[in-house]
Structures are given as structure tokens and as C-alpha cells.
């Protein structure tokens, strides 16, 4: 049965997008010395604003401001630092609608997700780490926990505000100051966050935001006065950063790519599993490093699972990210759309069978329909490479041992999913899967109290939880 939905767009009048934005350095918005670039709404290709591209000199100014601010911020009692973070958390809640709408406009993700997932997690993250600021000596990370200094942080476009929160909140709680570079295609909510820092009267220089592309990011992580580098993004860039910091004292955490197996056993509650498969790969258009992009389904139930999955996919609504009924929003950029198309075409060319939801795609903007590949082998590129889009590869297995073998047959190790009603099997699988996060009978759940991060080439270090503090304290390891 098909349901018709009337449009239910969220009003965008709540956000005020300026025609152009500068950099946020030392508590002020300043003009960059470099060029500028445009950020577009990926759902319409409309240009939203001109944004300054920070040059090496701009980055240097930001790092100097952060260094000056470090003295006061690191010596401030944790109790007082906490209050700034609590303030920020509250303002994020108060301006939640505005942040959610802006995030959806700049990123393309459905308002349902930015409003109900991203922004609440962002506020919760600041609340969580605010509470740590005056309790660090109880964190079990050494008797005299000390901040590292200036943190250079580079974040991706898939969860612009959430990744900002995951980076900024623990850094500030531990007494560090930051220079953060948001992604080139999604700078706007970071700049709104800069306004929130002003609103909270955060001391100047504690948070600095430099917009730009890869060159700006490189300037941030390789700046000699940056003591700590935190990066979320591709494994390729992660490796380049690991090389760039070799021989320095810089402490590094990397949260990189993934190719997660989502494993469905024959005794799994099939409807719940199907919903988990859908949220695993189609949440945020599959622009999720921990996405369950490889479905491993036990042979005896493969046919049934696939049939129900396709039926469920038929009910997904793709379109205007600001529509409250939308499940699948826009692909974040033309570049990313090209990459998804290319890998999908390769999947077909290599012999996998492609199936996509028959749905009308809007005439402008960047769109890709939810897609499933069956008959995928482990050698296929769509089973090995991160597509970072709404594309699911389906493989089958017969025994638990085969499932483990296939799940672990990847250089990545960020996340994995297991669906079965058998408790002992869940715990066995959880122990065998070489991944930093294992979701059993659920998928894509995040919480500030829950450490997140990878094994193998998915990077190192943890974000979230008590372990997340270790990344921002001298000499501490999670």
C-alpha cells in the first residue's frame, strides 16, 4: 500500500544566511587574506554564501590566538570552564531549530535527522563533557591530568555540527584551545557555532574557526605550534596526516573510513533487522563512516530478508531535505555524487546485480536513489571500497565462522552489526568482530557517553565517553 504525503516543509525563515562569511579568529569574525569559495545547497544547487578560504597566514593567526588563549583557559579552574560548556550546550538547545534548518540546507540531510539526531546529540555532547571539566582527576587517566595545548581539528561534511561537537567539547573540557576547520561544502553551522561562542562570552581565542578546503586543513595539522591533531575523514587523508606528523611530538587521533558488515542470522527478528539494515545504510544518505554498507545475510533467510528489505525501501521518501516527511535527502556534493555513480557503475560492470527504488529524483540538486547490489563477491570493489552513499552490497554466509571471516576481511574496522535472538551468539560475534563499535540488534546509535572509533585502517583514538578525554590530555591513552 502506498501512502501519499502532503508537503510539510520546515520554514527556513528561522535562519539568516549572510551573503558572505569571514573567519572566526580570536573571538571576532575577520576577513580572510586568501580567496573565497561558495557553499551551495545540494538539494537545489543554489549558492548560499561566499565563505573565506583561510590562507596559511590566516591559519597562523588562528593558531597564535589559540596559543594566547591557552594560558588563561588551561589555568581556569575546571569548575569555571565547565560553566562555559554548559552555557554553550544550553544555547545549542535554545537555537536548536535554527541549527537544524541550517544544517539541512547546507548539507542536504533530512530535517528529521538534523532536528532529532544531530542537534540533540550536539547539545548532549557539550553537556556530557561540561561535566567532566572539573572531574578530570577522577577519570583514571593519571593523577595530574593536564591539557595538551592547541588542538588543530579537521572535520568532514557528513555530520558538520556533530563532528564539531565531538572535537570541540572534549578539547575545551580538558583545557585545550582549538583551531577547527569545517568541511569545504558545509561551513555554515560551524560559523553559527562561532556566534554561539560569542553569545556564551567564551574567552576570545579559545575556539577559532578557519574555513577552507584541503590546503587549509593541511596548514592546520602541520602548523608547528599545534600540539594535538584530530581528524575525521577519509583513510587516505588520515594516512597523509600520520606521515606529516611523524617525528613530531604531536598527539593524533584519526577517525577514518569504514566498510561495516551488518550480519543477519536466520534466527533474527526479520522486521527489526530490516529496519536496522535500512537505518544502517540509508541514514544520512549513507554518508556515514560507520554505515552498514555490507549486508551479510545467512543463506537460509537471504531471500526473505531481501524481499522485505526491498519492500521497506519502497516506502522511503526521497526529496526536499526540509520536508519533515523526507527520509532520504540530497547527496552532499556533485563530487560525491560522481563518486557514488562511478562505484555503482563499477559494481554493475563487475557482475553484481543492481536494484534501486523506482522514485522520481528532483530535477536540480544532487540525488541518488537507495540502491542494493546482490550477487556481490568479496573481490568486488563495491564490497571493498567505501562508497559513502546509499548503496548496499549484499553477501551471504552459511556458518558463524564464515560470517566472522567475511566481516573481518577488510582493511577497515570501524563498526559492525549483528542480528540474532541468541544471546551467546551475540557475545561471541561481538568478541570476534575486529571493529571499534559493535551494534547488536540495533545499528547507528550514538551517545556522548559511548566511545566511538576504529580498529585497523579506520584510525585510532576514541571520541566520546571517558575514553574520549584521553585524546586531549597529556600522556594519556584511552
Amino acid at each position: 500500500m502506498a501512502f501519499e504525503y502532503a508537503p510539510a516543509p520546515e520554514s527556513r525563515s528561522i535562519v539568516d544566511i549572510k551573503p558572505s562569511y569571514g573567519l572566526f579568529i580570536d573571538g571576532e569574525f575577520v576577513d580572510g587574506r586568501g580567496a573565497s569559495f561558495k557553499t551551495v545547497n545540494p538539494a537545489t544547487e543554489e549558492t548560499l554564501a561566499e565563505v573565506a578560504e583561510a590562507s596559511d597566514a590566516d591559519v597562523d593567526l588562528a593558531v597564535r590566538a589559540a596559543r594566547r588563549a591557552f594560558r588563561g583557559w588551561s589555568r581556569m579552574s575546571g569548575k569555571e570552564r565547565a560553566k562555559y560548556l554548559f552555557r554553550i550546550a544550553r544555547i545549542i538547545q535554545e537555537r536548536g531549530r535554527e541549527l537544524a534548518v541550517l544544517e539541512s540546507i547546507d548539507n542536504g540531510k533530512p530535517i528529521k535527522e538534523s532536528r532529532d539526531v544531530d542537534v540533540p546529540i550536539v547539545a548532549a555532547h557539550f553537556f556530557y563533557y561540561a561535566g567532566w571539566a572539573d572531574k578530570l582527576e577522577h577519570a583514571g587517566l593519571g593523577p595530574n591530568p593536564q591539557p595538551i595545548g592547541v588542538a588543530g581539528q579537521v572535520i568532514p561534511w557528513n555530520f558538520p555540527l556533530m563532528m564539531l561537537a565531538w572535537k570541540v567539547a572534549p578539547a575545551l573540557a580538558c583545557g585545550n584551545t582549538v583551531v577547527l576547520k569545517p568541511a569545504e561544502t558545509t561551513p555554515l553551522t560551524a560559523l553559527l557555532f562561532a556566534e554561539i561562542c560569542q553569545q556564551a562570552d567564551l574567552p576570545p581565542g579559545v575556539v577559532n574557526i578557519v574555513t577552507g578546503a584541503g590546503g587549509t586543513g593541511q596548514a592546520v595539522v602541520s602548523h608547528p605550534d599545534v600540539d594535538k591533531v584530530a581528524f575525521t575523514g577519509s583513510t587516505e587523508v588520515g594516512k597523509a596526516i600520520a606521515r606529516a606528523v611523524a617525528g613530531t611530538d604531536k598527539k593524533v587521533t584519526l577517525e577514518l573510513g569504514g566498510k561495516a558488515a551488518n550480519i543477519v542470522f536466520d534466527d533474527a527478528p526479520i522486521d527489526q533487522a530490516v529496519d536496522g539494515i535500512v537505518s544502517g545504510i540509508f541514514f544520512n544518505q549513507g554518508h556515514v563512516c560507520c554505515a552498514g554498507s555490507r549486508l551479510l545475510v545467512q543463506e537460509s533467510v537471504a531471500e526473505e530478508v531481501l524481499a522485505r528489505l526491498k519492500r521497506r525501501m519502497g516506502t522511503l521518501r526521497l526529496g526536499d531535505p526540509l520536508d519533515k516527511n523526507t527520509d532520504i535527502g540530497a547527496i552532499n556534493s556533485r563530487e560525491q555524487l560522481d563518486r557514488i555513480r562511478e562505484l555503482s557503475d563499477i559494481g554493475e560492470a563487475e557482475g553484481a546485480e543492481r536494484w534501486a527504488v523506482a522514485c522520481d529524483l528532483p530535477s536540480s540538486g544532487f540525488w541518488f536513489p537507495p540502491t542494493v547490489f546482490t550477487g556481490v563477491t568479496q573481490a568486488h570493489r563495491i564490497a571493498r571500497e567505501e562508497v559513502f552513499g546509499p548503496v548496499l552490497s549484499v553477501l551471504t554466509f552459511r556458518t558463524p565462522a564464515e560470517a566472522v571471516e567475511k566481516a573481518n576481511n577488510t582493511p577497515y574496522g570501524l563498526s559492525a552489526g549483528v542480528w540474532t535472538e541468541k544471546g551467546s551468539r551475540i557475545l561471541h560475534m561481538a568478541s570476534q568482530l575486529r571493529a571499534g563499535v559493535v551494534w547488536a540488534n540495533t545499528f547507528n546509535k550514538f551517545d556522548p557517553a559511548s566511545p566511538f572509533g576504529g580498529y585497523k585502517e579506520s584510525g585510532y583514538g576514541r571520541e566520546g565517553g571517558r575514553q574520549g578525554l584521553a585524546a586531549y590530555l597529556k600522556g594519556a591513552e584511552a
Binding site: 548532549a124 583514571g140 593519571g142 583513510t235 588520515g238 594516512k239 600520520a242 606521515r243 611523524a246 617525528g247 584519526l254 577514518l256 582493511p411 551475540i426 561481538a430 568478541s431 571493529a435 571499534g436 563499535v437 559493535v438 551494534w439 547488536a440 540488534n441 540495533t442 546509535k445 551517545d447 557517553a449 559511548s450 566511545p451 566511538f452 572509533g453 580498529y455 585497523k456 585502517e457 584510525g459 585510532y460 576514541r462 565517553g465 571517558r466 575514553q467 600522556g475 591513552e477 584511552a478
Partner: protein, 289 residues
């Protein structure tokens, strides 16, 4: 007529066996005064690769042992070392010079360190793991797991205490190790291998290569089936350490960086030598009726 001593040529320790170097090479080991003591095998690139294969094979079973059992086995190593104290004292004194008392102290400290680490086997997860109170009906906990195959460039100066201090924290959590011993002072590591072979440590869990960290390090750092590397053995060699760190980035090995100089091994190590080579795994499950 004086008795002619039997001069030894020591071998490598790979996969629980004592092979010669595949290269056929060995080198002369002298005491602290430059007098010939024995020949040691000069490990090659191929030996590194064989050792990694042996280590990888041992990783699954070793990491699947209960923590209690791993603790028992580390304690067993300490027991067997204790039995061989005179031999270790002689090896340390010969390698490093110094007084008999200093050598004795080092052997004492090395045995004690193993006992210390043995006790950590079933405690570390309780100290660095935790239950996470997430905002929803979910069971959620985080616990450490071993990283995998760890390359260990053992310290060049502290031939026994330093060696034990970098190997024990790697294996106690369930990792397996490919160790490159001190180049000029390899004999305590050779004796340590003999202890490992006779103390319930499964073959392949610790593999000991005698040879040059500068030659073997690059192969180990670039090996795609090695998950982590401890660069202690190139302490002070800044350029070499940097190049090894660059090579290690090819598969994002966890790197314990080389210090500027070897640390004071007598000091209590803290948790860092163990936490450098564990991964934290978080598991979620819904709570419901």
C-alpha cells in the same frame, strides 16, 4: 692443558622453534670490553616476514585465552627466569659491563616486572573499560582488546630489564610480538627466548630476532600485516625513527614513538605500555522484555 671452550652460535626464535637466519648470516657478539663471546644469528628481511606469519597464526588462539590463563603464563615465565638467574646475571654483566650486583639487580627487576605484568592480565579491562550510561534503553559497554601483531624494537642499552619491559605489556593483553633485540647486547634476549620456549608460552606469541633495528625496522614498520610498532629500540635516532613512523602510516599502525633516550627502566611503568597496544571496543544492545 687448558680446556678449549665450546663456542656457541645462537639462533633466532620464530614460531616456537630456533631456526638459523634464512640469510645464513651471523655476527660476532662481544662483551662490554670487546672480547668475543658468541655468534648470534643476523636476522634478515625474510626472517622478519616468517616471524610475522608465525605471530599472526598465534594471535587468534593467544588472544582467545582467558585473561587468567595469560596471567598464569606470564607468571610462569617469571618462575622459569628465577630458576635461571645465574645465567641471566652472567649474560647481563657480559653484555652491559658493570658490577655483579648491578647485573643481579637488573635480573631481579626483570623478574619482578614480569610478575607485575602477570597480575595485570585480568585487571586492565576493569581499570580502563567501563559501562556507559547512554540516554536510551541500551546495554552499552567498552572494553579493551589486543591490537594484534606488534613489532617491538627492543631497547639497545637495557638488554634484559628493558627487553622484558617492552615485551610483557604487549603480550599480557593478548597481542603477539615480533621482537628485534638489542644489536650489540643480544644474549640476554637469546636466553629469554629459551625461557619462553620452556614456560608454556605458545609458539609464535613472542618471536625474537637478533639483528640490527636499523635494518629490520623498516621491514617491520612497512609490513602490512603488522598492526602496531614500538620504536623504543631506535631511541635517539631521530631520522630513522621518523622514517619508520612514516612507513608505519601505510596501514595506520599504532606507533609507540621512540623516546629521545632510553627511559629509566627501574621506574614503575604505569599503564601506557599496555594501553598503547589495545583497542577499545564498544558494544550496544537494546534492553527490553
Amino acid at each position: 692443558m687448558a680446556r678449549i671452550d665450546v663456542r656457541k652460535t645462537y639462533k633466532l626464535y620464530i614460531g616456537g622453534a630456533f631456526p638459523r637466519s634464512e640469510s645464513g648470516h651471523s655476527y660476532e657478539v662481544t662483551d662490554s670490553k670487546g672480547k668475543f663471546v658468541a655468534n648470534a644469528a643476523l636476522a634478515s628481511r625474510k626472517d622478519v616476514r616468517d616471524a610475522v606469519v608465525a605471530a599472526r597464526k598465534a594471535f587468534g588462539p593467544w588472544s582467545a585465552r582467558t585473561a587468567y590463563n595469560r596471567g598464569q603464563i606470564l607468571y610462569r615465565i617469571a618462575e622459569v627466569m628465577e630458576d635461571r638467574r645465574p645465567q641471566f646475571e652472567e649474560a647481563v654483566k657480559q653484555s652491559e659491563g658493570g658490577s655483579a650486583a648491578a647485573a643481579r639487580n637488573q635480573v631481579d627487576a626483570a623478574v619482578d616486572r614480569l610478575v607485575w605484568y602477570a597480575g595485570w592480565a585480568d585487571k586492565l579491562a576493569q581499570v580502563i573499560g567501563n559501562a556507559n550510561p547512554v540516554a536510551g534503553p541500551f546495554f552499552n559497554h567498552t572494553a579493551p582488546e589486543p591490537t594484534g601483531v606488534v613489532g617491538v624494537l627492543a631497547p639497545q642499552s637495557s638488554s634484559l630489564l628493558g627487553l622484558v619491559s617492552v615485551v610483557a605489556p604487549v603480550i599480557v593483553t593478548g597481542n603477539v610480538a615480533v621482537v628485534v633485540s638489542s644489536y650489540e647486547r643480544p644474549l640476554p634476549a637469546v636466553t629469554f627466548s629459551e625461557v619462553l620456549a620452556t614456560s608454556d608460552v605458545p609458539g609464535g606469541v613472542v618471536n625474537v630476532l637478533t639483528g640490527d633495528a636499523g635494518t629490520l625496522g623498516p621491514w617491520l614498520a612497512a609490513h602490512m600485516d603488522v598492526n602496531a610498532i614500538d620504536l623504543c629500540g631506535v631511541a635517539g635516532a631521530t631520522d630513522l625513527a621518523t622514517s619508520l613512523e612514516v612507513a608505519a602510516a601505510d596501514n595506520l599502525k599504532r606507533v609507540r614513538r621512540a623516546p629521545d633516550a632510553e627511559p629509566d627502566w627501574a621506574a614503575e611503568p604505569g599503564l601506557a605500555p599496555m594501553t598503547a597496544f589495545v583497542e577499545q571496543k564498544t558494544v550496544w544492545h537494546p534492553i527490553g522484555i
